[in-house]
């Protein structure tokens, strides 16, 4: 089975956006397994990877049900190529070092938490149930990445420098989560998708507060031209999918 993915259904596109975000970030965090700075952080990052893979499955399963046969959570994850992936570009950025991983995580969590808070009130019952389940995990992610941003930002001179460099580097990707794609706007008007305009102040406030406490300078906002939500990605995603999809591509159609 090789699915050429063409569904334009906004609900499907939206589920894929939410699923792809967490799957790709989970995939990145999974790369840390066995290589963390201490055993405790190794466990935490692997645990977040596990949470994210679990969350992605809930969204993919829903999308697959909407699409019907022969779609499944696995066909959606493993048989779509780069242009059919809707994740924001932030999550595909490489781990590099613990500083970049933490900043990436905080930029994601500081959006994800407030996003899920609202998604719980979605007019779509299934999405609202997934949000209610996920937000418990995400509340902890946000606490962890906030605390580590502060600890490393306000730690040693060296850690401060690394964190500031990571923030400067990733800042350009910080706003995409707040810019709605066309399919998102359509669902916002139907009360299904989260109205991003409503959460943007909370997200900005949280980021400002944590960066301040971390003694990190928040760079000026940069207009963002990327559009991962519409399948336009950085060079990283192709390599991520190469690994992620290797088995299903090399041995198509088998049960594992």
């Amino acid at each position: 089975m090789n699915l050429e993915f063409e569904s334009q259904d906004p609900l499907v596109q939206y589920c894929l956006l939410l699923a792809d975000n967490v799957l790709i970030l989970g995939q990145r965090l999974g790369e840390w397994c066995g290589h963390g700075p201490t055993l405790e952080q190794d466990i935490a990052l692997t645990n977040f990877a596990l949470d994210f893979v679990g969350q992605s499955r809930l969204y993919y399963q829903y999308a697959a049900e909407v699409l019907g046969n022969p779609h499944s959570e696995d066909s959606l994850a493993f048989l779509r190529d780069v242009p059919a992936y809707n994740n924001i570009q932030l999550v595909e950025q490489s781990n590099r070092d613990f500083a970049q991983t933490i900043i990436r995580q905080f930029l994601f969590d500081s959006w994800h938490y407030y996003f899920l808070e609202q998604l719980q009130h979605s007019g779509d019952e299934r999405l609202s149930a997934i949000a209610a389940k996920s937000i418990k995990e995400v509340a902890y992610h946000l606490r962890f990445s906030s605390e580590w941003t502060i600890r490393l930002g306000d730690g040693t001179e060296e850690s401060h420098k690394k964190m500031q460099a990571a923030l400067n580097r990733l800042w350009v990707f910080s706003q995409e989560s707040l810019n709605p794609a066309d399919y998102e706007s359509e669902l916002i008007s139907k009360g299904i998708a989260v109205d991003l305009a409503q959460i943007s102040a909370k997200v900005a406030q949280k980021r400002k507060a944590i960066f301040e406490e971390a003694t990190l300078n928040m760079p000026e906002l940069i207009p963002f031209f990327g559009n991962g939500k519409k399948g336009l990605h950085t060079e990283h995603l192709g390599f991520i999918l190469t690994e992620l999809q290797y088995m299903q591509r090399a041995y198509p159609g088998l049960q594992w």
Binding site: C33, T38, R151, G155
Partner: protein, 315 residues
């Protein structure tokens, strides 16, 4: 009390199946033996994360990816409790990690073999965790309390991993001929190293006799190896794959399976550092530790600043 008297008391306690606790008197060699064994076990858990972690990004389905992540995370958790159990004997985790990184401490040699195929996730769960359980279940009754208690929890999780590994193998063996060949290939590569996990034959084993007397060990290497073979052969039959040992056959008289000679030259070479992945595994652990140094320093510096602030507030 004279030392001999203390030693007699200690041995009496052990003979009476009482647990030795961290603050109890214990012979220095008992302490050292335990530190060696517990830390070796802890190191095995964290080095063991690497060969399986190798397949997290390539697991064939989302369900398998989640299960593998959970499994490797359990191993990290086991490492953590075991380091804590070792710390109750008066040695720090930093010291133990130094010993690992400098090659002074050993870890299970099985993890110096490469995981080159997805089927290896099945074979490791089924055979390596299966062998580990044989070794570890008796340790739940080990004489040293903190170790025994850590092992109770570890064994529960390991037996879940073993079933999970067997289930991966079962899925492959019920699959296409290609998948069945993958399962067979993994068994071919992991069978003999799994038998080596029980350590040298009893006649060659340096540590067994004293450890049995102290009830750190309950069975000898050869007894455990035999138990493992006896338990595993029927499982391979269910899978319909062949154990790569032409000498393997049921011995009616002994009531056990006979099996072929283990290549001990290979075992000792891998122990000495000449296995296929020894260098990579150590490099990965050392790199993680060195790359993490600035993180650990920063966390410490931040904690110090916070406690200083607190002191100033109180003053």
């Amino acid at each position: 009390m004279r030392t001999t008297h203390l030693e007699d008391n200690f041995q009496q306690k052990i003979d009476a199946e009482e647990r030795i606790e961290p603050k109890d008197w214990m012979p220095e060699t008992y302490r050292k033996t335990l530190i060696r064994q517990i830390s070796q076990h802890a190191h095995s858990e964290i080095v063991g994360m690497l060969p399986e972690g190798n397949w997290i990004t390539r697991a064939p389905t989302l369900r398998r990816k989640a299960a593998l992540l959970a499994k490797v995370q359990d191993e990290a958790g086991h490492g953590l409790y075991l380091y804590c159990a070792a710390e109750t004997l008066g040695v720090s985790r930093d010291t133990l990690l130094d010993e690992l990184h400098t090659g002074k401490a050993k870890y299970s040699s099985i993890f110096n073999y490469p995981t080159i195929a997805w089927a290896d996730m099945g074979a490791i769960g089924w055979l390596v965790d299966g062998a580990a359980i044989m070794n570890q279940v008796p340790l739940c009754r080990a004489s040293y309390g903190p170790y025994a208690r850590a092992m109770v929890r570890i064994c529960k999780e390991e037996s879940f991993h073993q079933r999970q590994g067997f289930e991966i193998m079962l899925t492959l063996s019920k699959g296409t001929p290609t998948q069945k060949a993958m399962a067979q290939d993994a068994l071919n590569r992991w069978w003999w190293p799994s038998l080596m996990m029980f350590g040298p034959n009893d006649a060659e084993s340096q540590h067994t006799e004293q450890s049995v007397r102290w009830k750190i060990k309950r069975f000898t290497n050869d007894e455990l190896r035999q138990k493992f073979v006896d338990a595993t052969v029927p499982q391979a039959e269910i899978l319909g794959i062949t154990i790569p040992d032409p000498d393997l056959k049921w011995n009616e008289e002994r009531g056990h399976y006979d099996f072929g000679a283990i290549n001990w030259d290979e075992f000792w070479q891998v122990v000495k550092g000449n296995g296929p992945c020894n260098q990579e595994r150590m490099e990965a652990r050392i790199k993680a530790h060195e790359d993490g140094e600035w993180v650990r320093e920063a966390a410490m510096a931040y904690a110090n600043k916070q406690s200083q602030k607190l002191t100033e507030q109180v003053a």
